[in-house]
Amino acid sequence: MADVTHGTLPPLSASETDDVELYHPHSWITRYVFSQDAKIIAIQYSLTALAIGLVALVLSWLMRMQLAFPGLISFIDADHYYQLITMHGMIMVIYLLTALFLGGFGNYLIPLMLGARDMVFPYVNMLSFWIYFLAVLVLVVGFFVPGGPTGAGWTLYPPQAILANTPGQQWGIIVMLVSLMLFIIGFTMGGLNYVVTVLQGRCRGMTLMRMPLTIWGIFTATIMALLAFPALFVGAVMMLLDRLIGTSFFMPAIVAMGEQLAYKGGSPILFQHLFWFFGHPEVYIVALPAFGIVSDLISTHARKNIFGYRMMVWALVAIGALSFVVWAHHMYVSGMHPSFGFFFATTTLIIAIPTAIKVYNWVLTLWRGDIHFTPPMLFALGFIVTFVNGGLTGLFLGNVVVDVPLSDTMFVVAHFHMVMGVAPILVIFGAIYHWYPKITGRMLNDAMAKLHFWVTFLGAYLIFFPMHYIGLMGVPRRYHEMGEMAFVPPSTVTLNAFITIVALIVGAAQLVFVFNLAWSLRKGRPAGGNPWRATTLEWQTPQTPPAHGNWGQSLPVVYRWAYDYSVPGAAQDFLPQNQPPDPQPA
C-alpha cells in the first residue's frame, strides 16, 4: 500500500484526549429502564420498533386476506380496511423504519464506531426514547378508542381525514396526530444528539473522511429528518386545530351529507405540500442509513475495500440535498401547473445519478472480492437487487406522463414497497445479523438465518412482482373490494389470492427470525470480539458486549480509514482502524 504517512504518534493516554463526563447508573432502574447509556437506549428503541412492526405485519395480513378473499374475514368492512391500510403504512414508515434506523442503529453505532464513550447529551437521549415510547403507546391507544384508529390513509389528506364518515374521525385522527407530534419531539431530541456526537464526539484521528459509511448514512439522514419532520409537525398542528377548534387551515367550504359545514377558506393542497415536504425526504431518511450500512456489510463480507469511498460520501450528501426539491412529484395529479410537473420530474430524475453511482460502487466492490455468503452478505445482495428494481419503477413514476395513468393503482403500491419497504427491511435484517454478535456476544443461528433470508427474499418478489402487473391492468389501490369490474380480468383475482398466500408464508417466516433472536441469546455460538474480522472501531472494544463507557481506560486512536481489507502482507488480511502504522524506516 502506498502510504502517505503523516507524523505517526504513539497512542495517547486517556488524560490527553477530550473525554466525556459519563453518567454512572446506581440502580437496576437507571441501568436498564431509564438508562442514559446509548447502547441500552438503542436496544430499547429496536425492541419497541420491532414489536410495533409485528403489529403492522399482522395488519398487512388482514388486508391481504380481504383483497384475495373478500368477505372471508367477516369483520373487515370498508371502514376497517381503511383503518388497516392507514395504520400499516404509518407504523411501518415512521414507527418502525425511522425509529429503528436512527434510534436503534444510530444510538448503538454512532458512539461505538466513532470511538466515543457515549452520546454527547445522554439525558436528552434517554428522554428521546421515552417520548418515542409514549408516542407508540398513544398510537396503540388509537386501536381502542371509540370509532377505532383513523382510516384516512397514511398521508392523512384533508378534508376527508377529518370529515364525518371517514373511519376514526371521532378520536382516531386526534390520537394519530398527537402521536406523530410526540414522535417528532422525541426524534428531534435524539437527532440533535446524533448530529452533535458525530460533529464533536469523534475520537482522535477519526476525521470525517475516515468515518465508516454507516455513520455517513445515519448522519446525513438525521440532518434531513431534523429539517423535514417540522413540516409534518406544522401540518399535524394545523390539522389538529381544524379538527378540534374548527379553524380552516386545510378545510375548504364544504357540503357533507347535504349540510354546509362551518369550515370555509382552507386549502387542502397546502397540507399536501407540507406533508410531502416531509414525506419525500422521509424516503431517503430511511434509505440513506440503509445505503451506509449496506456499504459496510458488503465491504466486510467481501473482504474488499469499498470502491469509490469519496464518491459514496458525496453521493450520500447529494441525495440528501436533492431529496428536498422533489416533493411535488407525489402531487402530479393534484392539478398543478404543468411547468411545475416538469421541474419536479427533472429533479426527481437527477437523483437517479448519485443513486446509480452508489449501486455501481457496490457492484464494483463485489467485483473480484472474496465474497462470503454469510447472512449479512445475503441480505446486502438482496438489498441491491431489490433497490435497483424499485428504483427503476421509480423512474417510470417520476415522469408526469407515465405517472398520471399509473397513479392510484397497485403499480404504485408495488413500487414503494420494493424501494422503501422491502429494500430497507432487508438491510435491517442484514444489519441485525451483522451486529447481533457485538450486542449480545453470541452468533445468530446460521441455518435459521439462511432459511429466513431465502423465504423473505424470494417471497417478497413473489408478492410484489405480480403486483406491478395487477397495477398495469388498472386495479386501483385503496379499494377494499373490486366487485364486478369489466376491465379487471379473472386472472388478477387468482394472482391476488396467490400474493396473499405468499404474504402469509413470508410473514410467518419472520417468526423464525424472532425465535432466532431469542434462542441465540442463550444458545448461540459465542462470538468473540470480532467474528467478522471487521476493521471498524465497534469490533475493537475491550469487552464484548461493550461495557459502560465502551473503551475501558483509554479512548481508541484512529490511524486509517475503515476499509483496509485484504491488505497484502498484513498478519490477518485486514487492519483495524485503530492499528498504528508500522514504524517507517528513517
Binding site: H6, L9, T188, G201, R310, Y559, R560
Partner: protein
C-alpha cells in the same frame, strides 16, 4: 413553499461551506497515521452545548420557515382578507428588542465575571420577556373582542398559530433563563471558576436563543403587518 426552499438553500450553502473545510477531497485510503490535523479540521473547539443549540435553532428555523411558507401560500389565494393588527404588537416588539439587548449586556457582564451585572441582566431579560408574552396575550384578546376569532377566517387562525408557536418557544427559553438566574443568584464571587464558566456558557446560550427569537419575531411581524407583500409577490413571480 418558496420560503422554505430559500431557507434550505441557505442551510445547504452553509453545510457546503463547512463540508468544504472538512477534507472532502482527502484520499483516506492512502493516508495512515494520526492524520486528523492534516486532512481535515478536528472537531470544533466550541463547547458541545453551543453546537447543540445551533443545530436546534436550525430545526426551529425550519419550523418557522414552514409556517411562513404556509402563511404566504395561503395569502396568495384570492379570498384572503387581512386582519387589522393591534397596536400593542408594536409595544411587544419593543419589549422583545429590549430583552435581547439585556441578554447581550448580560453576556458582556459574564465575560467580565461581574455577578451583579449578570443577575440584573437576567432579571431585566426575564421581566421584558414576560411583558412581551403579556403583550401578545393582549393582542389575542383585542382581536377576539373585535370578533376575528372565527372558524372561517384563515388570517386570524394563522395569526393565533404563529404567535402561539413563537410564544411557546419563548416559554421554553424562559424556563432555561429561570434556571440560569437561580444559579446566578446561588453563586458568589468566591465560587469555583468552573461554576462561573458554566454560568457564562448558559448566559451565552440564552442570549443566542433570544436573538434568534427576536429575529423570527421580526420576520413574523413584518409578514403580519404586510410589509413583505411585495417580496412575496416577487417570489411568487419567480415560480410562475
Amino acid at each position: 413553499m418558496i420560503v422554505i426552499v430559500v431557507f434550505m438553500v441557505v442551510l445547504a450553502a452553509f453545510a457546503g461551506w463547512w463540508l468544504s473545510r472538512q477534507g472532502l477531497m482527502a484520499k483516506p485510503w492512502l493516508e495512515t497515521g494520526v492524520a486528523g490535523e492534516a486532512t481535515g479540521a478536528p472537531p470544533s473547539p466550541r463547547p458541545i452545548e453551543k453546537i447543540g443549540l445551533g443545530a436546534f435553532l436550525a430545526v426551529a428555523g425550519s419550523l418557522f420557515a414552514l409556517l411562513v411558507s404556509a402563511y404566504s401560500m395561503r395569502m396568495g389565494l384570492p379570498d384572503w382578507r387581512s386582519l387589522p393588527m393591534p397596536t400593542v404588537l408594536w409595544f411587544s416588539t419593543g419589549l422583545l428588542i429590549l430583552s435581547s439587548i439585556a441578554l447581550q449586556a448580560t453576556v458582556i457582564a459574564a465575560r467580565r465575571d461581574e455577578l451583579d451585572g449578570i443577575r440584573s441582566g437576567l432579571l431585566a431579560a426575564g421581566v421584558t420577556s414576560l411583558a412581551f408574552l403579556a403583550g401578545q396575550l393582549l393582542a389575542w384578546r383585542e382581536l377576539a373582542a373585535a370578533g376575528y376569532f372565527s372558524a372561517g377566517n384563515p388570517a386570524a387562525a394563522f395569526f393565533y398559530l404563529v404567535t402561539a408557536i413563537h410564544g411557546l418557544h419563548m416559554l421554553g427559553g424562559l424556563a432555561v433563563l429561570y434556571r440560569t438566574a437561580t444559579r446566578a443568584f446561588d453563586l458568589s464571587a468566591a465560587s469555583a471558576p468552573q461554576a462561573l464558566g458554566r454560568l457564562r456558557l448558559s448566559v451565552e446560550l440564552c442570549a443566542t436563543y433570544w436573538h434568534f427569537l427576536l429575529f423570527v419575531w421580526l420576520v413574523l411581524f413584518s409578514l403580519l403587518m404586510r410589509w413583505t407583500d411585495d417580496l412575496i409577490e416577487i417570489c411568487r413571480g419567480l415560480l410562475s
